[in-house]
Amino acid sequence: MESYSKRKRECPSSPESTQPSSFPDEVLERVLALLTSHKDRSSVSLVCKDWYNAERWSRTRVFIGNCYSVSPEILARRFPNIRCVILKGKPRFSDFNLVPHNWGADIHAWLVAFANNYPFLEELRLKRMAVNDESLEFLALNFPNFKVLSLLSCDGFSTDGLAAITTHCKNLTELDIHENGVEDRSGNWLSCFPESFTSLEVLNYANLSSEVNFDALERLVSRCKSLKVLKVNKSISLEQLQRLLVRAPQLVELGTGTFVQELTPRQCAELESAFNNCKNIHTLSGLWEATVLHLPALYPACSNLTFLNLSYAALQSGELAKLLAHCPRLQRLWVLDTVEDKGLEAVGSNCPLLEELRVFPADPFDEEIIHGVTEAGFLAVSFGCRRLHYVLYFCRQMTNAAVATIVQNCPDFTHFRLCIMNPGQPDYLTNEPMDEAFGAVVRTCTKLQRLSVSGLLTDLTFEYIGNYAKNLEVLSVAFAGSSDWGMQCVLGGCSKLRKLEIRDCPFGNLALLSGLEKYESMRSLWMSACKLTMSGCRRLAREMPRLNVEVMKEDGSDDGHADKVYVYRTVAGPRRDAPPSVLTL
């Protein structure tokens, strides 16, 4: 084992002397190396000093849920052999423009530390980090073994940075650019892969809009025989897609380009035949502009499909129904609400194995257009898909009774995210608050880990959550609650709570301070547009030195008012890279 030859013994005691039945360290490390779950490894490291050391030497993958909870130096000191880092930065509400743009979470300091301590770093997966082109170039030049780059919801970089990666990373196996704020200057980053480069297994550039050089892409796909995942962007036409498929029938995940084009009958047949040869596809996405015209070409490839992402294709109910008839094994489905309730009825009829459903609104900001899905669609799915455990549902109306029936049909929900799009909207039939709906959810779904609530809600909802949601780890709340008591119930009752994000609720200092003891056992707390004041936040910061309490002020707001507050536990102390708009108390 390399780690054995490189390591220095820091622990003075030899294993045999003190414990009659302990393993030599090398054996312990071998055993622990088999542990992959981060939670298991954390538990192991707490057993005793020997185990702590064995664990830290054998750990190669580290997950950091909040980049400010620990510093690169502390990380490097504890774990000498890291090959893979998963790092998350900004609070989730930054996805919805609630976090100032220059808030932080810059990857660069981490990369510098990694270059010093982990020159053989292979894998970097970043979520909501600030990444610029200079950092990407640094990454490309300083890690000769670098294999995997995944950027999700990051921002600050351009396609020039990607070009640096494709030019210099000779061993790259994965390039996954997903849902980022990228400045798309050109598609020439793809042409920077050398002709000798053949190791690519995963390429996802669906996020980008520029056209790449198609010949270069076609040659790349031809020579990368291990390519398993290919997700192209909108600029790839159907005809081009057909040519790519012919070269990569082994694909397991496919993201198409724009799925509409004037094709001759022969071209249509060729497309269908190409799909027919791709029998290993289990994930399908892209499908921009897909219509009834060309969807049938897909049908032959759908028999093994487990994940279908139609969230960019504004399908009508009939088109969806026809497509789903060919997808008997579907487990995960993402759609737009253009399919309406009728489309969801088709889901219920055709997808008995469905475990996850996400319904996104096609026109969330346009109040004139009030179609989409209602409680009827959700009900229909729940009757047909009893294995459903993950739902994200955007709708414009809901009833308590419907939700109660839904969770009776599907009691195994682990993730229940319901977004009634008009803030504070009651049950549209009874005009009552939606308290009973979420009460039913937490009472019935004992495995619930993640919950997003919406609609008109009083403190009663939060009483229910505190009393029943004993496995809840993540809670998102907006425009809800009546008083501090609501938040107190949650903080007092949900013992496994890790992340709490709240916006526009009448919770104030009393609620905030009731969680004093709790925040160290959580990853983070976000509260914006609530009733917090600076003095309340200062008190929290004073009493709990191992928490960072950050306040972001809005322009023109009252001096005493704490507009946006972000609280998180950390061993790294207050951060030094905060912009002026962010005060660390």
Binding site: D95, F96, A362, E368, F479
Partner: protein, 282 residues
Amino acid sequence: MENSGLNLKATELRLGLPGSESPERQSSDENKKKKKASTVVLSLKGLAGPGAKRGYSDAIDSKWVFSGNTSDGSINNNGGKCVSGSDSGLCCSVVKESGGAQSPKPAVVVQEKKSHTHNHGSAPSKAQVVGWPPIRSFRKNSMSSHSAKNDDDSEAKLGIECLYVKVSMDGAPYLRKVDLKTYGSYMELSSALEKMFSCFTIGQCGSHNVLSRDGLSESRLMDLLHGSEYVLTYEDKDGDWMLVGDVPWEMFTNSCKRLRIMKSSEAIGLAPRAMEKCRNRN
């Protein structure tokens, strides 16, 4: 049926004399309004008389914030533009009722959203909540061909691949959107619209009714469209309402901003009279 909040009767198309509103329909709606402060989407929209303009109502006080009242307010906006004074009075009172019923929320007016203009008089700006609904920006941008951007006044989003315009039908509870680029001729457009709006014929209503459409209703709508009951009109770049079919198809797709299936009684002497009527409602 009467007890359900759906108020399907209100969304029925009535083929009565132009401008008439059956009295019992209105009063039952009024009663429903008074019972429920939070109005049902369909019933309030059904209140709108034939040809009532949908849009952002200037009946709503500009200080009103985007809070729990919104659902009523936004629906009120559409219904608020009623023809008769009594109707608008009713709508205003509904807003106040619902204002009282719901718990006070912090004002969240952050951005003023420019109104979608129907270019018939000004509609007031509507408050938009930052970051709500919680849709990630990349998804918003990807779907920009499907929704007009917040600060975009035009109602037809011209994309490289598509041209979405809104289609409204007098008496239908909500609007639809079509991509004109997917049709090659007036025939194709008209049959697509028939399919889309056939669910609003008598006895059926969109997503709330599980009955499948039968051929009878579709052909009925075709009669309605091709016969004398309804005409298809569009708003062009200059803001004028024209009858569909007068110009070559290409010219039409280039200048069409919005479609409206109008009762032919409204369309008599189309250009000046219909427009004037619309202007008067603001």
